[in-house]
């Protein structure tokens, strides 16, 4: 928990990379303002009510906290340096997340918008592919499935080589 000053009272905003509590997008967004930032991009990954053609009841996210925390911090810091961001944060929820709730949030800010968009996309892609966090889908029919695994290795032949949907090089031009 990091204390900081908002417009009036001093509030505590949970900025940990992993949290078992509901993600507070509003509080995180309020931390993101920066006088040198002309662009703020927020991504929220939310739980859909359907997956694999079945009705989703809820998801449960398991994480290996030590490595996931370290990795998310590293990814965010790398993005801050690479795109000269004024601010960046990523937070992933663990435990049960219901349909319509946010499972992960990424906020990036920069002087101009190209960098904020590119960095935001880079951070979520890397978290999704690389951070030791796993999703288990529980369906309304009572079945469950460990799901949405990163399958890049089948194509790259290396568990540490990923194919991202988005090419950050291209976004930098």
């Amino acid at each position: 928990m990091t204390p900081f000053a908002l417009s009036h009272p001093v509030v505590e905003v949970n900025t940990q990379p992993l949290t078992a509590l509901p993600l507070n997008l509003v509080a995180l967004l309020s931390v993101a303002h920066h006088p040198k930032a002309g662009a703020v991009v927020l991504f929220s990954g939310e739980v859909r009510d359907n997956s694999l053609g079945k009705q989703v009841d809820y998801l449960e996210y398991e994480a290996y906290p030590a490595m996931a925390t370290k990795m998310i911090n590293e990814i965010v810091n790398e993005a801050i340096i690479r795109w000269r961001l004024t601010f960046a944060i990523a937070q992933h929820r663990t435990g049960i997340v219901k349909s319509g709730e946010s499972a992960v949030v990424v906020i990036t800010t920069s002087a101009h918008r190209t960098e904020a968009y590119a960095a935001n996309r880079y951070i979520i892609d890397r978290i999704k592919h690389e951070a030791p966090i796993w999703k288990c889908e529980y369906f309304t029919d009572g079945t469950k499935e460990w799901g949405g695994n990163c399958n890049c290795q089948k194509q790259t032949g290396d568990a540490n080589k990923h194919i991202y949907e988005f090419d950050p090089q291209n976004a930098e031009k």
Partner: protein, 77 residues
């Protein structure tokens, strides 16, 4: 040697999982685990190994008291 497993891997190896043999390399550990449960071969081939919270290659030498985690493919977000 004690290893930690996660997510879908827990359906094959409870966590923490005790390995009684003396094994010198991560590749030996992988071979051993496939011998214990051949159904896990596919997911083990897709998983990464971490020692003391750092990813390592299959030729990494296991030292006494190392904390070994087997990390199945990520599906966060």
């Amino acid at each position: 040697m004690t290893i930690q497993t996660f997510a879908a891997l827990k359906d094959y190896f409870s966590t923490p999982y005790e390995v009684l043999e003396n094994l010198s390399l991560i590749s030996d550990l992988k071979t051993y685990l496939i011998q214990q449960n051949s159904d896990a071969e596919n997911i083990l081939n897709l998983s990464r190994f971490a020692v003391n919270d750092t990813f390592v290659d299959l030729d990494f030498e296991i030292k006494k008291n190392d904390t070994i985690c087997i990390i199945p493919p990520s599906s966060g977000g």
